[in-house]
Amino acid sequence: ACGGGGGNGGSGAVKFSGWDYESALVQQNVARFQQLNKDIKVAYTPITSAQYVQKTVAEFTGGGGPDALYVYDDSLAGWVGADYLQPIDGLAGVDEVYSGIYPSNAQAMTVGGKRYGLPYYTDSQCLIYNESILKKAGISAPPKSLDELEQQSLKIKNAGILQYPIGVTGQLQDTWWAWVWGLIFASGGDLFDANGEPTMDGKDATAKNVFAWLHKAATVSKVIDPAVLQLLPVPLDNAMKTERYAFTVGARYALRDYNDPTKSKAAGKLKIAYVPSLDGQVVGTVSNTRMYCLGKNTEVKDKALKLLNYMGGLDSSGKPYTSKFWFQQKGLGFPFRALEKDPDVLQTLGKFADPTIYAKLASLARPRTAIKQPWYSEYENQQQKTVQQIINNQTTPDAAVKTLAQSVASLKKKYS
């Protein structure tokens, strides 16, 4: 299990790094790429995902940095600002890709009008519910509105099935809490306007209303588990798989695992639904995009680009090989619209989620508006803390939106 890599790519090898999600599969895929391109060597380094951003920053700051790398959509703007990445506009294959993907993904990969990435995968938030628990409580359809969600939860709670039917990830993290954004976007609102100006404390009451609902659900009807404040994604997955929650708001691809009988006791019971909104309408959700980008100072640009294209683009037959590969293997959401109709994809999808809802979510989804702001990560942290305080009754929805608006104001000042 020893091996060279990373720093010592040597003569002309493409240094390729990414967070360590399924790195064995990545390695396998890289090997295939090298098979196809005998002249290119790829030195692949997986990095612990929790520290991926930090370590990559360190490498770039240190003057090194990979030639090709994974990038989170919420890091992209910062990294572009820091001059780690180079745009790929006009390079071979890029236009084709951009015209084949969902606009939200294209938008997420564009900074200041320039394209920087080829998509790795995308996903959008949905409501995941445990059908059999709902049935047990005498509920036949998933909730459409937040009130309905609360009512159903109360029913489950009162039936003595679960003390707290709703679970979400509520421990402070350095990654985003997608579900908060999901709830707000689902109700048609936003926290910021298109220019990144905060709207939560005024123009747009959605956030405040969603917070009010959260507050009520957590502290009055007590259907949100107070323990979510120490819940991270993996334990939440485990809880869903062991039927400890009836509802969660999560990424679509989670269902793949949830409904895998080898990994989950609840396989087959967990279903996809639209994220409930304040008024019950289906108007949106939030999406994220993970992409492959090109290092600014790469000396093997052509080779790296080839790799990029292999990973995030279309193959010679115009098919997004890798994207499909990931979906088939792990259920990672595909950014390419065309795959919606791919029979293999449909077949796989059928095993874990309703294809219609799945596809609709993809097209409704929007990226976060604020991720291009340099202060986004600070803001996200503040938002998480505020939501925590709402859940454990340390603040009110009014105060919460005020706090958020204020923090944006001071962040802006700091970044000017």
């Binding site: 091996g3 612990t48 520290q51 003057g63 994604p233 997955d237 485990n238 695992d257």
Partner: protein, 301 residues
Amino acid sequence: MTSIPASRPALPLMSRIPWRKIILYTVAILFALWLVLPFYWIVNMSFMHEVDATSVPPHFLPKDPTLANFLGFIHPTTDQALLGSHAVADTPYALMNSMIVALTTALFNLVLGTFAAYSFSRIQFKGSQVLLIVYLLTRMVPGIAIIIPFYLVMRALHLLDTYGALILSYTTFALPITIWILKDYIRSVPRELEDAARVDRCGWFRMMWSVFLPISAPGLVAAAIFAFMTAWNEFMFALFMTSTISSQTMPVIAANFATDLNTQVTLMAAAGVVAVVPPLVLVLICQRLIVQGMAAGSVKG
């Protein structure tokens, strides 16, 4: 000389009760529990099947004990092999790396630390206090502040992703404290012994080796353990300075377990257990060196 009295007065009751022993053992047992119970849970989990690990109510003994988690480190199953980017398969190598790095760090520290510490405890020199504080100061700057420039230095030295980077970083971390620790123990070695060794024709090095070091063994062990542990469980620098299993240490690999979405808590627990065992074994071996009153009987007065 004297006749034995017919009946000996009985000891007072209170003094027949071995209070000291009772208190000692009570406190010892309480501390043992405090130390062991949390860890016991990890050990317990490491012998469990994944499904039992998070069951409610918890199993305080593995329901159906298995060695599978440990065997995984030698022959990972396909499932295990994929976890946390090879974390399972990497564990043995990571342990070896950790061991090499930690032992070398400890050794470096002792050597460099002894020199410096000697000067502080035996020589009165100008600037000694300032120098001591400066040493400490280098340690007081949080690692996070220096990690990036440190990375640059290591890069310049072409040491990234080698043991060298880690050993050097940990040496600089542990050295100031090592010096502080050692200077006190060296001071507690009676000066007369040094004199005696000199008169017995020992040069400085010989004197350190034959007389000082054996007598200050408890201090050396403490300092060595300190340096070893610093290196053993440091995470941030290990993460930044290494990128492959040729130099990654156990904490990095353990983090890989932790962040993998498919993680198995039992496997992670097993990794935790194997990460803890080697230092404990080492300490078990070393601890006979922590002897009470090493210098007893050596000088009068």
